[in-house]
């Protein structure tokens, strides 16, 4: 290590690896890839691509017809309201076998579902063998079930109104991964792994899953939307000190809606090497537990984003707030709305918006109820001003919306992990507003006499109500460092950091500027049976007044 103290994360450095070096190890074929706006075809690249192996059927017209058939059957059977979703998916997963060879899996699937509302009761049915008869029967059965449930319940569901929409949309991308030969993708992963290993004592793990989905949603109100998503789900991590659990993510290789251009950034190899060098620097720091006590805590952008995605986002999902999820995923510390909305409960430095911008895994033009998602301010300067809603939960905020002069309607966060899973409320993509004035990581740490710096957290434990949070460096879930007089002096090992959620966020003293922003995309589970929903967040670094540090011993 050439410096007395390690640099803060993402400070400029040079790795000594040139793009030429990278290309020479990645294989001659890669040098033929053009980075630009045109979609590359398999013939141009050479070799077999996944598009040769996936069955693209039925055509969209057929999907529309099936939606219409199901809606018609539901209406004829007596549904007050119905929505139908059909999806056609292709999947490609590429990884590296321990022998060094590529491992590939392709898949294609069709799914559909019908949700029917009768006399204030919902029923949801799904299947995957598509035919006119099957969707018709599914719709009739859903209506019959809903009618039965209506007789059993003592209360009724209601839906907030939504405008009728019709449209077609596709997520933008540059390079179709299903057109890139599988061997080339494996070579790319191998080259990235080799780049990480250029740093002595370091290594990397790389794989990628691609999912292409065409999802058609139709409602009995008359809405009909067709969306095509292309989701990239890379796993990209470099490590140094495997036993000591120093795992650092590779910047820019974050799950998002994108094509193969994700892997074509010209400096990607250098980025991997730099990150491996950084991991090695941190692994080399002396490490020991920290004395138990209360300390100020600085979270880097990724750690802030992870905390937002896993704690604040779910706490603002209206179905959790209303306790619909009490027997499943849990409830919310930001409830009941009457006691929360508009109150200065959290730090004035905290402002969060939610959106479903298309680059994120959760991005969409319309939600699963054909509602256009709104960019929704959720927390403004420490005050909760809204929740994440769908058509079923929005009416619970009627009094608040009317007081604000807003219409009572869903803000477009009806989501499901797949169309054969029930619609629930998701978080979309959360953004914590950065500081408008200059505030780098170094600036945030400057006045810290003795505190904890948390880097690259990809998990935070909580509880059924999201009332507490718990981080640990064990298992590489984050890297903890001691800051003394503004400088990193050591790693902290065998330590847990725990906090009470509302107190913690009340104690947010400062946020970093846009330079410190980092995105995350995490899979979060929701419901019972549970389903995977993407939870995206982008956040600056944050300086918190305090959290409790506890010692973890392996006993």
């Amino acid at each position: 290590m050439t410096m007395a103290f390690p640099r803060f994360p993402d400070s400029p450095s040079s790795s000594g690896v040139t793009r030429r070096d990278f290309l020479s190890t990645a294989g001659a074929a890669l040098s033929g890839l053009a980075i630009g706006s045109r979609v590359l075809s398999a013939k141009q690249i050479g070799g077999r691509s996944a598009s040769d192996f996936v069955h693209v059927t039925p055509a969209s017209d057929r999907l529309y017809a099936l939606v219409a058939t199901a809606l018609s059957a539901a209406k004829d059977a007596g549904a007050t309201y119905a929505d139908v979703r059909i999806a056609r998916q292709h999947m490609l997963f590429v990884s590296l076998h321990p022998s060094g060879g590529p491992s590939a899996e392709v898949g294609t699937s069709l799914e559909y579902s019908v949700r029917a509302l009768v006399d204030g009761a919902f029923a949801f049915r799904y299947g995957n063998l598509l035919s006119d008869d099957s969707v018709r029967q599914t719709a009739r059965t859903a209506v019959g079930q809903a009618r039965g449930f209506a007789k059993l319940g003592r209360a009724k569901a209601e839906l907030a109104p939504a405008p009728v929409v019709r449209g077609v949309w596709s997520a933008p991308y540059t390079v179709d991964p299903f057109a890139v030969p599988i061997v080339e993708q494996a070579s790319m992963l191998g080259a990235l792994s080799a780049a990480a290993q250029r740093v002595e004592g370091a290594g990397g793990r790389f794989s990628v899953a691609w999912r292409h989905e065409t999802r058609v949603c139709g409602t009995s109100d008359g809405s009909l939307t067709t969306q095509t998503f292309l989701r990239a789900d890379p796993y990209a991590s470099v490590f140094a000190d495997w036993v000591g659990n120093v795992f650092f993510p590779v910047p820019d290789l974050v799950s998002r809606q994108a094509g193969y251009e994700l892997f074509l950034a010209p400096d990607l190899a250098e980025t991997v090497v730099r990150r491996a060098e950084e991991a090695k620097r941190f692994a080399a720091l002396p490490g020991k537990p920290l004395d138990v006590g209360r300390y100020p805590v600085i979270l880097d952008g990724q750690s802030m984003a992870t905390t937002a995605a896993l704690l604040l986002g779910p706490a603002l999902q209206m179905d959790r707030v209303l306790r619909y999820e009490a027997a499943a995923t849990g409830t919310s510390i930001l409830a009941p709305p009457d006691e929360i909305l508009g109150q200065p409960l959290l730090s004035p430095k905290l402002s969060i918006t939610a959106d479903r911008s298309v680059r994120n895994m959760s991005g969409a033009q319309w939600d699963d109820e054909c509602v256009v998602p709104e960019t929704t301010p959720l927390i403004v300067q420490g005050r909760v001003v809204d929740y994440l809603t769908d058509r079923q939960t929005a009416p619970a905020l009627a009094r608040w919306y009317k007081a604000q002069g807003k219409p009572v309607r869903s803000n477009g966060y009806a989501m499901s992990g797949a169309v054969d899973r029930p619609i629930t409320v998701g978080s979309g993509a959360l953004t914590i507003a950065p500081s408008a004035s200059s505030a780098s990581m170094e600036d945030l740490c400057r006045d810290v006499k003795r505190g904890v710096l948390m880097l690259y957290a990809d998990a935070v434990r909580s509880d059924q109500q999201l009332a507490t949070g718990f981080f640990t460096d064990w298992g590489g879930q984050c890297t903890l460092c001691l800051i003394e007089n503004g400088r990193i002096t050591q790693r902290i090992k065998n330590t847990g950091v725990q906090f009470r959620t509302r107190e913690f966020w009340k104690g947010l003293l400062a946020v970093g500027d846009s330079r410190t922003m980092r995105p995350v995309s995490i899979r979060s589970l929701k419901g019972l049976p549970w389903q995977n929903l993407p939870a995206d967040a982008n956040a600056p670094a944050g300086y918190f007044q305090s959290a409790d540090v506890i010692s973890l011993t392996r006993g």
Binding site: V54, G153, A327, T331, R421, P422, S462, T472, L525, L528
Partner: protein, 481 residues
């Protein structure tokens, strides 16, 4: 092998064989393995005096794995069975298998041909029938219970039936049908400061009593009202079966022989000793504890063969005694590591039986409370996660019933705690152990290394007793209710 019951909720053996034979006839690969799984499920969720949502239907999944020569295998997943889709899938796989991926791999070959599987009884007609009736009969019981008691709550009723068939071109055919069910109820006090939970999981729906479950959850919520804060620290605790199941399911990866012997990453690994790599043969837990896995366990069981997703072939699995009188007797071996080591395949099923030895007296929870001078009764846990594989250390938060015990009696409800402790320590601090039963788990996030194909509800059976443990580490108060 299990004979076909007379049920039409899921595809029969013959129907799945027909699809499989059609695919095999189209394959040109040296080896082809096909797994077909048809699952029918009915879930009803109740909250706020109504059916909140239902979630019912059926799904078919087909996973095909092919390999030619010494090349790495390729896999394809489809879920359509029309002739066009099947032909396209096999044509595509045949092409994909021929693509020369890297250097040849020296693959161990599993034994060819038909296999013999342990007879298991995982199917109940009552459960299959309940796929269409469970909501109608259970929902009124739950809604009425909440209404009558004036305690709000939410309920889950889930019923499942599944057919699984694995077949290969060499004549291997493995078939099984199973049913499973679970009912759970969460209730909370009107002031939202207390909650209760109860649940029951069984392959036979006729043994599940939703009304009783609701009553238990409501009673806990009532008794939990006005909790007080008690100092955290190391305390004697009585863990209900629900809490024990949530902790013990994280033990499964530790029994994996490859992780233990090769990566030395589990708590059963021995590090720094050139004479041994694991603790087999050593006392690892209290002598009153046995642990085992058994596909034919009468309280739960699981499919008696490995699967294409996790193990690449449907080799027979069998019962394994993992821990006897606290001594580690065996680990679980995947197909390939087992072949390397000369050990029989014993799939780590992520299902576990933990029980007292035959000579250990069993105590009920009430007995344990009566014998406790001072301690905490913990009914259930939330967000249990393993935070360190080497020690098995876990963390989580108590919920749904946490009570202070003094002088052999429940004195009062207390606020929840965060705990940090390891079952490898806890199971050496056993004070008393109760009767072992299959235990519902409700909502639960996947454990570290839990295979993705096992994430889905219902989870495989956890069969555990209540435990009284001394010096359980409650590290902090938790505000969560």
């Amino acid at each position: 092998m299990h004979a076909d019951p007379s049920s039409s909720v899921v595809l029969s053996r013959d129907a799945l064989l027909d699809i499989g034979h059609r695919l095999l006839s189209l394959s040109t690969a040296d080896t082809t393995c096909i797994e077909l799984q048809h699952t029918a499920r009915a879930v009803t969720r109740v909250s706020h005096d109504r059916v909140l949502t239902s979630d019912s239907g059926d799904t078919l999944s087909i996973l095909i794995r092919t390999m030619s020569g010494a090349q790495l295998p390729v896999r394809m997943q489809i879920n359509q069975i029309d002739e066009s889709s099947l032909q396209f899938a096999m044509r595509a796989l045949n092409e994909l298998t021929k693509v020369q991926f890297g250097a040849p791999v020296d693959y161990l070959r599993v034994p060819d041909g038909p296999q013999h599987y342990l007879p298991v009884s995982l199917w109940h007609d009552t459960t299959a029938a309940a796929i269409t009736t469970s909501g109608d009969t259970s929902v009124p019981l739950l809604i009425d219970a909440f209404h009558t008691s004036n305690i709000p709550g939410a309920g889950f009723i889930g019923v499942m039936a599944r057919s699984t068939l694995v077949m290969q071109e060499d004549g291997l055919i493995a078939f099984n049908q199973e049913t499973d069910s679970e009912c759970s109820v969460s209730a909370w006090s009107p002031d939202r400061r207390a909650s209760g939970w109860s649940g029951h999981a069984a392959r036979d729906w006729s043994t599940v009593r939703p009304g009783t479950i609701a009553a238990e959850a409501i009673e806990l919520a009532k008794r939990g009202m006005n909790p007080v804060a008690v100092e955290p620290g190391r305390r004697t605790v009585i863990l209900s079966r629900f809490a024990v199941a949530q902790i013990m399911r994280h033990l499964s990866p530790h029994f994996d022989a490859y992780q233990t012997n090769v990566y030395a990453s589990t708590a059963f690994a021995v590090r720094g000793d050139t004479t041994r790599v694991n603790k087999v043969g050593r006392q690892v837990f209290d002598p009153t504890v046995n642990m085992s896995i058994d596909p034919a366990d009468p309280l739960g069981g699981f499919i008696p063969f490995g699967d294409v997703t996790g193990d690449w072939a449907a080799m027979p699995t069998h019962a394994v005694s993992l821990v006897e009188r606290g001594v580690l007797r065996d680990l679980t071996y995947s197909i390939y590591y087992g072949l390397e080591e000369g050990k029989p395949f014993s799939q780590n099923p992520w299902a576990l039986r933990v029980e007292a030895t035959a000579e250990t007296p069993l105590l009920t929870v009430d007995d344990m409370i009566a014998r406790c001078d001072e301690g905490i009764y913990i009914h259930r846990l939330s967000d249990v996660a393993e935070i360190d594989r080497a020690s098995g250390m876990q963390t989580g938060v108590t919920r749904d019933g946490c009570f202070l015990i003094k002088g052999g009696k429940i004195e009062r409800p207390v606020k929840n705690f965060r705990f940090i402790d390891s079952p490898f320590g806890m199971l050496n601090r056993i004070v008393a152990i109760g009767k072992t039963e299959r235990t519902a788990m409700g909502y639960m996030e996947p454990a570290n290394d839990e295979p993705a194909y096992l994430w889905q509800w219902p989870r495989r059976p956890m069969i555990v007793p209540p435990l009284m443990i001394r010096d359980f580490n409650l590290t902090a108060l938790a505000d969560a209710v």
